[in-house]
């Protein structure tokens, strides 16, 4: 709620019904408790009220001592009216109806009424309110205002000024929610218009949201422009898999093709917002490069084959239980697929060479900071970011890597005054609200972390073990500054700002740095010494799930470490290049573009005897493949995804897969079945049942429990790990 709410309850009367509401609650919210609705345009529950459109007019009175009601002579805007004792509200009186009609008539004076060609037509609040509350005919015979039509504000957002009713939702969104303040009102009166400053491009990581909150068709999606009308579309709930946050989305499709993505409300994850990467980043579903048919290399050519032939070829080329198979998987595969992938590699091919991590450095799963299932990496829930006193954002472009954490943190800053300290090597969005932004020399993260720890020790705020203290105190600030261009004063200022309850945010992208592991360890020491929650978040849609499900060379799904671990990503690629393993199974993603050392990947792909590429899109890796297995994209399958905070959310099949593509878990399940290692899996929920039995932290998960906000997995406690060792 945008309004300040206190716990004190007051009694108001709405349409002669007495109602207890918190004092100060906005009337537009209070009446919802009765199931009533006040028509609105400019009011948005997640933003501050401004009372610009006057659509929410209600009649207000106050109960007098003698029981009579004394009405105010004029109607009041319900969106800016806080509830108070003895208030009497009428939302349905003659006067209110007349006023609404009048307001709508004014709003429609300059509205072009080009609804048939407007992308908003059919789901337009102005259309709806006019239909319910407005006049049925127009008395306006003069010439309408004419303004810019279809002006591209950015690659994603198109502005139609004629349709704008100047509610200011978009302007307030960029100021209050996304914080980039890209939009502003220019001019006054009838010529007032929202636009970017000096008409430069609308550059925002969250620009797509203004399309959804615009109550008319003034801001429309350039990608969706004229592609469909709302009634042409079918929509189903889905999860965005473009980053690790697991935002809830509505997946709109037409004739089996993805058309657009809208935000779906999940208060625990994304509230109702989406980032542009999620909103506009699903076009690949309709790509020409989608794989549709299993292909087998015969001579120089890739020949389309049936699934049975492809399986035969795989099982013949890769003798079971030889331990000669390596498996690389990307984090966009569902939990079910990931689990069966490692199960298949371990049971059918007798190999522990399986990994999902593509970063330069990989923490061993016994390392206290590895992703998933350990007590040192707190994985603070996204919703908790509203509540901290201070936060340290370290070496992560938060708006890119964890967009929803960015929005929550900013919400915390605007509502609670969270002090945010940012250490970054590039311009970042957080600078707009951070109490302190420090730019260091790229690549010097480990020195920055040392400097932070040293400043923390010097200020007496951080407690660390003796040997770490000695090592850090031996360093001088001057020497640290010579590496990273950050002065002692900046470090001290940062440490001063970090107090109270707090959180340290970093991401797995740190591990891509040569000194990534060291940086993480120092940072964790600093964070734990301060008493902050330390977080090193995953980046892939299901990396968190992969870690917990044991898609790792050194740990099994049940959490038991392996005495003789298999090879990790670098090891697998090296072994493939040296022909120590004879087969490589790459699932989804393009290792050539993902791995930091492209040459290593190419060498491995060239030298491995038998390469199985399983994916949704044809890419460079597929060119090296002996067998290509087409896989269903996330929204084409049943499955679950574990997001960055360990929340398992369900994906239902939204659209049909292209051609013969199969779900990931089905492919692995069929290999398991063919080689006689498993009973058949008939559905994804059966796989989840098995996961729930095997993997400790998934114990509570069943498909029924994943309705609504999903299920937040517990962090594995240290006792789990101990009992597994025994």
């Amino acid at each position: 709620m945008a309004a300040l709410e206190s716990q004190e309850m007051v009694t108001i009367t709405v349409n002669d019904v007495d109602l207890q509401v918190p004092k100060g609650e906005l009337i537009v919210e209070s009446v919802k408790r009765l199931g009533l609705e006040i028509p609105i345009f400019c009011y948005h529950p997640r933003m501050k009220p401004v009372g610009m459109c006057r659509m929410c007019l209600v009649e207000v009175g106050f109960k007098q001592q003698d029981g009579t009601v004394r009405k105010m002579p004029k109607p009041q805007a319900g969106c800016t009216l806080p509830a108070d004792n003895n208030m009497v509200i009428y939302t349905d009186s003659e006067m209110v109806h007349r006023d609404r009609k009048g307001v709508l008539e004014f709003l429609l004076i300059n509205h072009p009424l080009d609804c048939p060609i407007c992308d908003r037509g059919g789901e337009c609040p102005l259309q709806n309110n006019t239909l319910f509350y407005g006049p049925s005919t127009s008395r306006f015979t003069e010439v309408k205002r004419h303004a810019l039509k279809a002006f591209p504000l950015s690659k994603y957002v198109t502005l139609d000024l004629e349709r704008c009713i100047q509610c200011g939702r978009c302007v307030r969104f960029t100021e209050e929610i996304s914080g980039d303040s890209q939009l502003a009102f220019r001019f006054r009166g009838a010529s007032m218009q929202p636009s970017t400053f000096q008409m430069h491009e609308f550059e925002s990581k969250f620009s797509g949201n203004v399309i959804e909150i615009c109550p008319v068709g003034a801001l429309t999606s350039s990608r969706y422009r004229f592609r469909a009308r709302p009634w042409d579309l079918a929509t189903r709930p889905a999860i965005c898999t473009n980053c690790s946050n697991g935002c809830n989305i509505w997946f709109d499709y037409r004739a089996g093709k993805m058309v657009r993505i809208n935000g779906r409300t999940n208060e625990a994850v994304n509230e109702e917002w989406t980032c542009d990467r999620g909103k506009f980043g699903h076009d690949w579903y309709n790509s020409e490069r989608r794989l549709k048919q299993p292909m087998l290399r015969k001579g120089d050519k890739m020949v389309p084959v049936s699934w049975a032939e492809a399986y035969e070829a795989i099982l013949q080329a890769c003798p079971p239980s030889a331990g000669k198979m390596g498996g690389l998987v990307a984090g966009t595969v569902s939990n079910e697929g990931l689990y069966l992938f490692q199960k298949m590699l371990r049971e059918v091919f007798g190999s522990n060479h399986v990994d999902y991590r593509w970063t330069r450095n990989r923490l061993s799963s016994s390392h206290p900071l590895s992703v998933g299932a350990n007590p040192s990496n707190k994985l603070t829930p996204i919703a908790a970011y509203e509540l901290f006193d201070s936060a340290l954002i370290f070496a992560t472009a938060l708006a890119d890597e964890q967009p929803m954490i960015y929005l929550r943190l900013r919400k915390g800053w605007s509502s609670k005054g969270t002090k945010v300290v940012v250490f970054a090597d590039r311009p970042v969005e957080e600078k707009g609200f951070a109490a302190l932004t420090v730019h260091y020399r790229p690549g010097s993260e480990d020195h920055v972390a040392e400097g932070l720890l040293k400043a923390g020790l010097a200020a007496g705020k951080v407690m660390v073990p003796g040997e770490v203290r000695e090592k850090i105190e031996a360093l001088s600030f001057d020497r640290i500054a010579s590496f990273c261009d950050v002065t002692e004063g900046q470090f001290r200022q940062a440490v001063d700002l970090l107090s109270g309850t707090g959180v340290v945010v970093s991401s797995q992208s740190l591990l891509d740095l040569p000194e990534g592991v060291k940086t993480l360890e120092i940072l964790a020491d600093f964070s734990n010494g301060l008493g902050f929650d330390f977080n090193c978040y995953a980046l892939g849609a299901n990396d968190e799930g992969a870690a917990r499900l044991g898609v790792l060379p050194d740990r099994l799904p049940n959490g038991r470490p392996l005495a003789e671990p298999g090879l990790d990503t670098a090891g697998i690629l090296d072994a493939a290049a040296r022909a120590r393993i004879s087969a490589l199974w790459v699932v989804e993603g393009d290792p050539i573009s993902r791995y930091h050392e492209k040459g290593d990947v190419v060498l491995a792909l060239e030298n491995v005897d038998f390469l199985i590429y399983q994916g949704t899109l044809a890419n460079e890796t597929a060119n090296y493949a002996s067998v290509i297995l087409p896989m269903e994209a996330p929204a084409e399958q049943e499955g679950t995804y574990t997001n960055v905070e360990g929340r398992v959310q369900r994906m239902i099949q939204v659209v049909q897969e292209p051609g013969d593509a199969k779900q990931a878990w089905r492919i692995f399940g069929e290999i398991l079945l063919r080689s006689g290692h498993s009973k058949p899996y008939f559905s994804a929920s059966e796989v989840m049942e098995e996961i729930a039995q095997v993997v400790p932290s998934f114990g509570e998960v069943t498909y029924d429990r994943l309705e609504g906000e999903g299920l937040h997995l517990p962090l594995a406690t240290s006792t789990d790990v101990l009992s597994e060792v025994n």
């Binding site: 422009r225 004229f226 009308r229 042409d232 004739a255």
Partner: protein
């Protein structure tokens, strides 16, 4: 038990009718020689759809899909695209790049015509819609669209009256 009543009387009755018709041979004929002849249809009969043009030659259809939304049989598929200055199909920003009607599904209710904000889609009296293959019942935009404004696309009508059909102008 009446042989007379049950057998002879009906035969006589029937033969009388035949004799009466035979006496009137050549007068008051109700059957016509379709397809050589065609009956004038009622004023508001609704058959085959056409997409009309403005007098300027621009298409009326703006691809708004309201017809598809109104269609109770869900037999209309519209795909819109944007006009450019070099390639202009309709006035305004938007035109239909694909417009298809599945004539097997269509129930000829005329709701599309009612819903159309520009009077682009009209149902005229061309009722001879039989065909051999299912695919041939998918009427594409090329089949539906007039070649020029006011083009006479109703062969039956000129056979009946010799005059071209009036163009519905919304």
């Amino acid at each position: 038990m009446g042989l007379l009543k049950d057998v002879v009387k009906p035969i006589l009755g029937g033969m009388t009718l035949t004799a009466r018709r035979a006496a009137n041979l050549g007068k008051n004929i109700v059957t016509i020689q379709y397809p050589d002849e065609m009956r004038e249809q009622y004023q508001r009969s609704r058959w085959r759809h056409y997409l009309t043009r403005y007098d300027s030659g621009l298409e009326r259809c703006i691809g708004c899909s309201l017809c598809a939304g109104a269609c109770p049989a869900r037999c209309i598929y519209v795909e819109a695209a944007e006009n450019t200055d070099t390639e202009r199909y309709s006035p305004g920003e938007r035109y239909a790049v694909r417009y298809e009607i599945n004539m097997i599904r269509c129930i000829f209710c005329g709701y599309c015509q009612d819903a159309c904000p520009t009077g682009a889609i009209v149902l005229r009296k061309d009722f001879e819609l039989a065909n051999y293959k299912r695919e041939q019942f998918i009427y594409t935009k090329e089949m539906l669209l007039e070649k020029y404004p006011g083009q006479n696309l109703e062969p039956y009508r000129s056979k009946v009256t010799g005059v071209e059909a009036p163009i519905y102008t919304g």
